[in-house]
């Protein structure tokens, strides 16, 4: 069968690629697009290591067909740091040692950013339930939850201070 042509926007840049109709978005990202920051832990939507956003919505890219990217805006871990400056979440994950092996980290960060985009002041319970789709076998989640909550607090502070 002929490959399908897809035009999409990845991390703010227009991109085109060809894919098989059965190929997942995760395959396309990690394969042709060379964006291996999104990881494959299960390919069944259970681990969250492949988390990306599509038009701002958090998605497991292993559950999305690559052709579905047509006309939509995709963001991945590679787009999180801006111009060589880490996102506050990335910085906090480092300071809090919220990663050990790091295989879950891309997905955790993408999911956490999606949470903070809709809830700037999450409770611990809200963080825990939001991240319940992102497995981490190394950390016991403690330092991840703290890093997310502290980032949220700092980002709120920055917004407060920026007000006239």
């Amino acid at each position: 069968m002929a490959k399908l042509h897809v035009s999409t926007i990845v991390n703010g840049e227009p991109m085109e690629f060809l894919c098989e109709p059965y190929e997942t978005m995760l395959d396309a990202l990690r394969g042709q697009l060379g964006l291996t920051g999104s990881k494959e832990g299960c390919s069944s939507g259970d681990c969250g290591a492949c988390s990306i956003t599509v038009d701002g919505r958090l998605v497991c890219s292993c559950l999305m067909l690559a052709v579905e990217a047509e006309g939509h805006e995709i963001r991945t871990i590679e787009g999180m740091a801006k111009g060589g400056r880490l996102h506050p979440l990335q910085q906090k994950f480092l300071e809090h040692a919220a990663l050990q092996c790091g295989i879950c980290t891309s997905g955790m960060l993408v999911a956490s950013e999606a949470l903070l985009a809709r809830n700037s002041n999450p409770t611990e319970e809200e963080v825990r339930f939001w991240l319940a789709g992102n497995l981490c076998r190394c950390t016991g989640y403690d330092k991840i939850v703290r890093a997310v909550m502290e980032t949220a607090a700092e980002m709120r502070q920055v917004i407060l201070e920026a007000r006239p």
């Binding site: 920051g37 494959e40 832990g41 990335q90 994950f93 879950c104 825990r128 076998r137 190394c138 989640y141």
Partner: protein, 752 residues
């Protein structure tokens, strides 16, 4: 060494590999590709036990796009008759049969052939075209089934008392005379327990990319807990000499012991050699669950005898562990660790290695020890209850200390077990009030820890900074620990030290990342290398100043005269001396290789609170505190991380994780949805109390910390559940269906 006034040791620095891992740049095994690369796939046995009569690969080979097919004929055979060929703790007779079944397939998922093709889809199609003629045999998975009379025998050549048997080995640790000990006892409690096999659960599936040049020179990119283990095993199973195999350690996405053996690398090497193309292989999650790991399921019986004042006088443990398809279950950990926290005059601890038709077990965090501790620490809880003693007091009364001779052999040096009990007793958690249907449990645990071979190079760059190369894959932050120590020793800023993991052909032999040995061993070799570098730097400064090297000291990253008597000179920094190096004897650096000794065992004591939903049978851990003697917390955040991660795994083991088999002997839950590991919303924060009793045999006082924190957890949770319900569970996991069934049972009886 002074463990208090350190500038970098004990600091929560940003790990050297951190930015790569938060930006997606870090290259894990599956992230690498090569021009011309093709894909490898494994054909696996659908049967738990079957003789392989023949394999016909002709149709697969004829499929367009298929570049190579291999079977056990291509794998170097280590025959059973010739006896054991050991690589570390692995017998190559079993390894060669585990990577590719020879005469028999011994578990569903056992590889029988492998294919390389231009796409994954073609490789999978080719696997379907391979014809395997199986003679299906009766099988045994559970320990009882493998031990009963007339049980299907996995390895017919192995006999016990002249009869074929699935009990592949028995070991024991012994001290005193238990017959006498139990005679002296005033209270004796004996209980039996079972645990289910659980998987290490690393999120990164096994993966590798391998290229073999026409002259046989082989390059392996893979994620493992030891690039040298990968090289050695691949060499032994393919016949390519070690000098021709460069094994490059990719970043590893979790291992917990499960990546201390190879599955894919020898097959990918054979496929690459046959096809002349680089071959990539990546397991699916289902393959990981069916064919790798896990740790053993178990059956244990523990008997403990004590005086009425709580003095334990005798202990007997019998631990039966499932090895899976090939011998090698972690009985040593169960036998050696279970009673180690206690000073007991009469001990007999026995372990039995039982083969059965499931995947060969791999190491899992303190292998065997959590299984034994679960049984022993639950019996101690019952003993404390019977004696009306506080469970921590009972442990304090019997605690091992400096000079105690453990049943497994060593006489303990200065250890911190009592300190962990004291800290737990005085922790606010221990006296906090509990609500309805809530309970609190405590338990302790011990792990041997390990030293062994380690190599490192410390090189001063031309601009006066430092590159440390070590040979151990870093799973949990060891690079950060090494950088802290190296910055401390050289007296320079942490950010001037770069730590990298060398490949097999660029750094000296370094044994596996396992046994909680990495920071212990690598900081020992790095310390010696740094000392050598400092000696060189002092000599160089002495030359410049034309004084005796003895009259030069190294402080704060620069050479200084030891005293004004030695002369008045402006200090020479690392950068100064690096700049002068070419004219003063050349590059500055040192490399050290050691078989490190003096790793002392570690102890931990945990407090766990649970709440039980009696309607749904759900046990929730609502508060948890892990206390551990960590020797020296070189990087406290990553030490805490080890404790928190270990506790989370133990909670999973205690409450949910298990393999479920269907009637065909196949695993029915080979994915993360049904193999239920703890998710973020299942757990509370996990508090850590780090007790630092420095290891007297290590330059920085380092002790292994990674494995101890899994050991006490299942018992702590089980004891908490008992405290909440007044009902004790003797088998894991305490999952909702099981808890509901047990809670319903008395009600039903009452109704009848």
């Amino acid at each position: 060494m002074n463990v208090v006034d350190n500038k970098w040791i004990g600091q929560r620095t940003i790990r050297p590999d951190g930015v790569d891992k938060v930006t997606g740049r870090a290259a894990f095994a599956a992230d690498t590709t090569m021009p011309g690369m093709i894909w490898g796939k494994v054909l696996r046995s659908p049967h738990p036990h079957a003789r392989i009569r023949s394999i016909n690969t002709a149709k697969a080979e004829a499929l367009p796009g298929v570049k190579a097919v291999v079977t056990s004929r291509d794998v170097v055979d280590f025959t059973i008759e010739k006896g054991a060929v050991m690589l570390g703790i692995q017998d190559m007779r079993w390894m060669c049969r585990n990577v590719m079944a020879r005469d028999k397939a011994l578990f569903p998922g056992h590889p029988v052939a492998a294919v390389a093709a231009t796409t994954e889809a073609i490789a999978a199609e080719a696997c379907r075209l391979i014809e395997v003629d199986y003679e299906v045999l009766p099988w045994a998975i559970e320990i009882d089934d493998a031990l009963k009379d007339g049980a299907p025998i996995l390895h017919e050549w192995h006999k016990v008392d002249g009869k074929p048997s699935n009990i592949m080995a028995r070991i024991e640790s012994k001290k005193g005379d238990i017959a006498q000990g139990f005679k002296d006892a005033e209270i004796v409690i004996e209980r039996s327990f079972t645990t289910r096999p659980v998987h290490q659960g690393y999120i990164e599936p096994h993966a590798c990319l391998i290229s073999v040049a026409a002259d046989g020179k082989t390059t392996i990119w893979s994620s493992s807990q030891g690039q040298f283990m990968v090289r050695a095993m691949t060499s032994m199973l393919t016949g390519i000499p070690q000098s021709d195999i460069r094994a490059i350690p990719a970043e590893i996405g979790g291992g917990f012991g499960g990546k201390t053996i190879v599955y894919l690398e020898p097959l990918a090497t054979l496929l690459a050699r046959k096809s002349g193309r680089p071959v990539k292989m990546v397991m699916t999650r289902e393959e990981v669950m069916r064919a790798t790991g896990p740790t053993s399921g178990s059956k244990s019986t523990v008997r403990i005898g004590a005086k009425k004042d709580g003095t334990i006088v005798a202990a007997h443990g019998a631990f039966y562990l499932q090895a899976g398809a090939f011998p090698g279950s972690p009985i040593r950990g169960a036998v050696g660790c279970s009673f180690a926290p206690y000073d007991i005059p009469h001990v007999l601890s026995e372990g039995f290695d039982v083969c059965c038709n499931r995947s060969k077990v791999a190491a899992y965090r303190a292998p065997g020890a959590p299984i034994g501790a679960y049984a022993v620490e639950c019996v101690l809880d019952e003993l404390a209850e019977r004696l009306k003693m506080d469970p921590l007091e009972l442990r304090l009364k019997n605690a091992a200390r400096q000079g105690t001779k453990a049943a497994h052999g060593p006489v303990f040096p200065r250890i911190g077990y009592i300190e962990t009990l004291e800290v737990a007793k005085n922790h606010p958690h221990y006296s906090a009030p509990l609500g309805k249907l809530q309970g609190r449990g405590v338990a302790s645990g011990f792990w041997f820890n390990a030293g062994g071979e380690s190599s490192a190079q410390v090189n001063i760059t031309e601009d006066g900074n430092v590159v440390v190369t070590t040979g151990h894959p870093d799973i949990g932050g060891s690079r950060a620990g090494i950088a802290n120590i190296c910055a401390e020793l050289l007296g320079i800023d942490y950010n001037r030290v770069s730590v990298i993991i060398g490949d097999t052909q660029t750094v000296g032999f370094s044994n596996l990342t396992g046994g909680s040995r990495v920071l212990f061993a690598s900081s020992m070799v790095v310390t010696q290398a740094a000392d050598k570098v400092i000696a060189t730097l002092r000599e160089r400064a002495a030359k410049v100043w034309e004084i005796d090297p003895e009259a030069v000291k190294w402080e704060n990253g620069a050479a200084h005269p030891v005293s004004p008597n030695a002369g008045e000179f402006k200090p020479l920094t690392l950068a100064d001396l690096a700049e002068k190096a070419p004219s003063q004897g050349g590059p500055i650096g040192a490399s050290v290789q050691l078989n490190t000794q003096g790793a002392e065992g570690g102890f931990g004591t945990h407090i766990c609170d649970v709440e039980v939903d009696v309607e749904l049978g759900i046990v929730r851990v609502i508060r948890y505190t892990a206390v551990q003697d960590v020797g020296r917390a070189v990087h406290p955040s990553y030490v805490e991380g080890q404790l928190q991660g270990g506790v989370a795994q133990g909670i999973g083991w205690a409450l949910n994780e298990e393999y479920i088999y269907n009637k065909d002997g196949k695993v029915d839950n080979p994915g993360f949805l049904d193999y239920r590991m703890p998710v973020c919303s299942d757990l509370p924060m996990i508090d850590c109390a780090l007790v630092e009793v420095p290891n007297p045999k290590h330059p920085q006082g380092v002790k292994g910390v990674g494995e101890v924190p899994l050991v006490p957890v299942m018992a702590a949770v089980a004891n908490a559940v008992h405290n909440a319900l007044g009902h004790r569970f003797y088998s894991l996991p305490m999952s909702p269906p099981k808890v509901s069934a047990e809670l319903d049972a008395p009600v039903q009886q009452a109704a009848e």
